[in-house]
Each structure stands twice: as structure tokens, then as C-alpha cells.
Amino acid sequence: MTKTKPRWLTILDVVTVIFLVAASALVFLYAPTEKTMGDVQRVFYFHVSVGWTGMLGFLFALIAGIMYLRSHDHKWDIAELAGIEIGLVFMLINIVTGSIWAYPAWNTWWTWDPRLTTATIMELAYAAYLMLRSGIEDPERRARFGAVYAIIAFISVPLTFFSIRLWNTIHPVVIGSNDPGATGAFNMSPRMTQTFMFSLLTFSIVFVDLFWHRYRLGRLADEVETRKLKLVE
């Protein structure tokens, strides 16, 4: 791994910050205030976007897991860990912001609705990945275990995504038709749709930027671990 930070990564950092500032400006200054929920509806733009970023992280981990089992190349193990770590952080934000939105919309911080339940199961499944992985010392075994786990745990991602379309739920559906029992659903105006789409794009860029940083960190950690093992021998 090169010790100096790649020029393209620095450019990506700058682009990411610009997009985040622009997305925030759209959320607070451009998007109109929703009439029945008020300003808390603005949480929706980033709430959905961070959920998308989290699932993207788990998808990357699935692909990396498959690639590791096929090639046994350690770089895929590093990529898989990076995807899961970022996925966990963003899904945590998604769950907490959802709860904050839920209180004024549903009059409760939490309910065991299918979407909330499946999202919690998904978060816990990937949190367990980190804990179990850290308990394995042999790097080869650790990577093999991680790859298999990342593939199996991914079942929870489509389950979470489609839960609001498969079961009766009070959680609103953003794209597609809502369950009649959904509470807090709203029709998006053109300005709301533009803000939402831009937020999704912004958080996709945030993901790529963070993934690159986390991958570099993983490569460095791997190098240090290998050198330590050599010294001990």
C-alpha cells in the first residue's frame, strides 16, 4: 500500500464535502415543509439515504465474500470488512433517525413493526459478524469464516428492504404504493423528489469515499499484522 494518500482520494474527499453541503442546503432551504408532519419530515431525506448506504455496504460485503471464496485473495477480506463496518454505522443512523421521526408521526419511539424488526435483526446479525470475527486469530480461517458469514447474513438485507411491501405495516413506502395501514405517508412534490434523489446520490458518494478510506486502513492493518507475526517468528 502506498504511504501517501492518493490524489484521487483527496479530490473525492472534497467532492463528498461539497455534495454533503449542497444536499443539506436542499433539505433545509429548498424542500418545502410537509403540512401534516412539519419540519421533522426533513429527516426523511437523509434517513432513507443512510439506509441505502448501509445496504450498499452489506452488498459490497456479499460480493467481496464471494470473491474471497473464489480467489482466496486477502484483499477481498479487507473489502468485505470495510463494507460491513460502514454498513453497520449507517444502518445504526437509519434506525435511530427512524425512531426520532416515529415519535411525532406514530406517537411512539418504537414499535415491533415488520420493517423495524427486520432492520434490527439485520443490524444485530452484522454486529455479531464483527464480534465473532475478532475472536479468530488465524487470518486464513478468519477470512473464510467472514466470507461465509457475509453471504449468509445478506439474506437479512432483501428481507428488510421488501418487508414493507410483503407484510402489513405502518411504515410508509417511499417508492410504490403504501399499505392502507401506513402512518406518516405523504405525497412527494417535485422539489421533495429532487431533494430526495440528490440525497441518495450524495450518500452514494459518501459511501465510496468512506469505503476507500476504510479499505486503505484495512490494508495498513494487514501489513502491520503480517510484520508483527514475522518479528515473533
Binding site: 419530515q41 437523509f46 443512523i93 478510506h213 486502513l217 492493518a221 508483527k228
Partner: protein, 50 residues
């Protein structure tokens, strides 16, 4: 006519969580990078001694 409720405090709470957790994660990345660079330096010195 329905009155739009005042839910600004919940919006602020939501965005504080979003930017707060992201900031904590960024700091954790920076700290881990710094610690690994330190480990690298220590390993360089130990390898030189050998």
C-alpha cells in the same frame, strides 16, 4: 383548517444524530490510522535493531 405541528426539535435531533455519528466514525478512522502509522514506526525500529 389543520395547523402544521411544530416538530423542529425532532428534526434537529435527527440531524444531530446523522452528523454526530458520522463525525465519530471519521474520528475513529483517523485515530486507527494514526495508531497503525505509529506501530509501523515501532516495527521499523525493531527491524533495524535485528
Amino acid at each position: 383548517m389543520d395547523v402544521t405541528p411544530n416538530t423542529v426539535s425532532y428534526m434537529i435531533m435527527g440531524y444531530a444524530v446523522i452528523f454526530g455519528v458520522m463525525a465519530i466514525y471519521l474520528v475513529s478512522l483517523l485515530v486507527r490510522f494514526r495508531n497503525l502509522r505509529q506501530d509501523e514506526k515501532t516495527l521499523d525500529e525493531l527491524e533495524k535493531k535485528e
